[in-house]
Amino acid sequence: MDQFAVKVFVRLRPSVLDPAGEATKSASIKLGAEGIKSLRIGKMIEVKIEGNGENEVREKIDLLCDRLFANTVIEDYEYSLEKL
């Protein structure tokens, strides 16, 4: 069995308004940071997972992302995978 460290990034789709991102952008400007054109907030999920090779692990992660980690009506996801 191989072990993998997976980092899943879940983001609101570009068409979905992100009010928390807007509020954070506004605070960033108040802090004095200049030049911020856009700021959107997502989630990062770290998973350690075992499986027989990368393909099998990718299948499991795809299922998790599609059915649980992200709601694909409003969110997109991508992930990176590192063999431990």
């Binding site: 068409s15 979905v16 649980l68 009506v73």
Partner: protein, 221 residues
């Protein structure tokens, strides 16, 4: 009819289950039964309410974890049999997360948790969940949510409009919902999800009775 029983689902974090039960039993004389989320036996209830609250602490997304409970798994057959399911607030979020209703509920546009009475237009008679004998009727119901902004893509919105699946629209959109949507039904009409709380508008002493009709309609076949 005398034995008609409405199942009120209880998740860890539900907080309107008792209100719903009180409104059904105390105001309408309809028998209720609490259904723990780990139960998958729905054989002795005739309709189901998914009440408001914060199931599983709203972890990940509102309704996202509740979707995987044994009870929600069993709900598919219940809905297919034509029995009625009402999802209020967090219940609506669970119904969208689990695919019984299209779209999703996301954070309010102004980021506030909004606690208010809102005016709503009854748009569709599908499922007979609302009293809309008049051409266009308005009701007033309380809302209490932080994630009540209905979102769907334009194709889904067109489908909702064309098939008359939009049940309620806000008169003054409080949360930024697409097309002012406050509640929708499935195509058959036996599943209704809405952000406002009809169970909090069932007695004049607490500010109105506009929610009675919807709760009463749970007993329709």
């Amino acid at each position: 009819m005398d034995n008609f029983t409405v199942g009120v689902v209880v998740f860890p974090g539900s907080n309107c289950d008792r209100d719903v039960s009180w409104a059904l039993e105390g105001c309408l004389g309809i028998r209720t039964k609490y259904l723990w989320h780990e139960s998958s036996d729905l054989s002795d209830v005739d309709a189901i309410v998914l009440p408001g609250g914060f199931s599983y602490g709203d972890y990940l997304r509102c309704g996202a974890i509740a979707r995987f409970s044994p009870l929600i798994n069993a709900l598919d057959e219940f809905v297919k049999s034509g029995k009625r399911v009402l999802g209020i607030c967090n219940g609506f979020q669970i119904l969208t997360e689990s695919g019984f209703l299209p779209g999703a509920l996301v954070a309010n546009k102004n980021l506030n948790f909004i606690c208010d009475d809102v005016e709503l237009d009854i748009v569709s008679s599908k499922g007979s969940w609302f009293n809309n004998e008049d051409e266009k009727q308005t009701i007033k119901l309380p809302i209490a949510h932080g994630e009540g902004r209905y979102h769907c893509d334009s194709d889904t919105l067109k489908k909702l409009v064309d098939n008359e699946l939009i049940a309620l629209r806000y008169k003054n959109n409080p949360n930024g919902s697409s097309f002012d949507i406050a509640g929708i039904t499935n195509e058959k009409g036996n599943v209704l999800g809405l952000m406002p709380h009809p169970e909090r508008a069932c007695d004049e002493t607490i500010g109105g009775t506009d929610g009675l009709f919807t709760l009463k309609s749970l007993i329709l076949k």
